[in-house]
């Protein structure tokens, strides 16, 4: 009798679990379907161009700028930085598969040893530290330049984020998803408020970018910043704009968020570095 009750209880628990068990494949499908349905005239791969995919007048300004894009200097600096050996003679290429060329689309990944998500920015600083170099600021120009170059070598390659068969990976994914949809800050906005519910709408002068493909264009040169910004910079400024205190760059929450957002954009091409208003 007791065991029957226990069995019943267990069944109840497991069915609750089933309802709550994350299903990344279904999520990604629903996510993409939402945007494709909302914007039937936008080609799926065009979502990586953010607001420019959604507004003709802005697209023309962007195409005009892309003739000689403002991130050119940063990209060039990143290329030089990437090629320059550390003081110990090693270089970034030694820290990455394929010498670091054409691999942007594989980041972030879940590291089984550490049990955590590793972003490209994090991997770059770890590479520096492993070679006796001080880490860069995650929101600074150096990190932006390096990631700009690495994105550039990966342009056109589709995001290929893997969630290994590991409950911790699934948990990281789920945490990222929760962060994405959780309202925060005095304005009570979630990431989704702007980038799921209202992409294409004007937030003052600007057209909000769709969340689908939003990281594919990173890092970005923003006219508002008058310079380049990393993913870390984008996420922390998003938080402060809604009057929330940003977490420290590369906090677990941000790493998981990047994992989630990149995963649901799987299949869309890397387009970074990008330029945005």
């Amino acid at each position: 009798m007791a065991s029957a009750a226990l069995a019943l209880a267990l069944t109840a628990i497991s069915s609750t679990l089933a309802a709550d068990t994350p299903d990344p494949v279904a999520d990604a499908k629903a996510f993409r379907n939402y945007f494709v349905t909302k914007f039937p005239n936008v080609k799926p791969e065009d979502f990586v161009n953010g607001p420019y995919a959604l507004n003709e007048d802005m697209r023309r300004q962007w195409e005009e700028k892309e003739q000689f894009p403002p991130y050119e200097f940063s990209l060039e600096m990143g290329k030089e930085m990437f090629a320059k050996p550390f003081r110990n003679g090693k270089s970034y290429a030694d820290c990455f598969p394929d010498q670091g060329i054409g691999i942007r689309q594989n980041y972030p990944y879940f590291d089984a040893k550490e049990g955590k998500v590793i972003t490209l920015e994090l991997a770059l600083n770890r590479c520096r530290e492993a070679n006796g170099e001080p880490p860069f600021s995650y929101v600074g120009d150096d990190m932006a330049a390096l990631t700009a170059y690495m994105a550039f070598t990966s342009r056109g390659k589709p995001f290929d984020i893997k969630i290994p068969d590991d409950p911790r990976a699934l948990e990281a994914y789920q945490n990222g998803k929760r962060y994405f949809y959780t309202r925060r800050g005095q304005l009570n906005f979630s990431c989704a408020t702007c980038h799921v519910q209202n992409p294409g709408e004007r937030m003052r002068a600007e057209i909000l970018a769709p969340a689908l493909g939003i990281l594919n264009a990173m890092p970005i040169y923003r006219s508002e910043w008058g310079g380049m910004g990393t993913i870390s910079r984008r996420l922390t400024t998003c938080n402060s704009q809604i009057r929330g205190v940003p977490l420290e760059p590369q906090a677990d929450e941000y790493r998981d968020l990047e994992y989630y957002l990149s995963y649901v954009s799987n299949g869309l091409p890397i387009s970074g570095p990008g330029s945005r208003p």
Binding site: K65, Q67, F68, E72, F73, E76
Partner: protein, 103 residues
């Protein structure tokens, strides 16, 4: 240090299309920094393009030209491999010059 001037000069046979992007703050003198201090004006005033011993284009700029300024124009003539000399001078008297090959 690398040149502040990036050039694309492409000959189509009859004309040469020139695009430049210059790394320069182009501070207008109307903007305040984080501490509320006015950032003093610092902008390129004149930019010249010299081909075959003569100016083919001269830009006079004020502070309203965007940061990292860009300009595009075309001139008749110009052959692949020819030199195009580009120089700028700003309001502080700083200058830079580069010579690019027409492609």
């Amino acid at each position: 240090m690398a040149s502040t001037i990036r050039v694309r000069a492409i000959s189509s046979g009859e004309t040469t299309e020139v695009q430049v992007l210059i790394q320069h703050p182009m501070d207008s003198g109307f903007v305040r920094d984080a501490k509320g201090e006015i950032i003093p004006p610092h902008f390129i005033q004149q930019l010249t393009f010299e081909y075959d011993g003569r100016n083919v284009f001269v830009a006079d700029w004020g502070a309203a030209v965007s940061k990292d300024p860009y300009v595009k124009f075309s001139f008749k003539g110009g052959n692949k491999g020819d030199d195009l000399k580009i120089s700028w001078v700003d309001n502080k008297g700083e200058t830079d010059t580069t010579t690019a090959k027409i492609q």
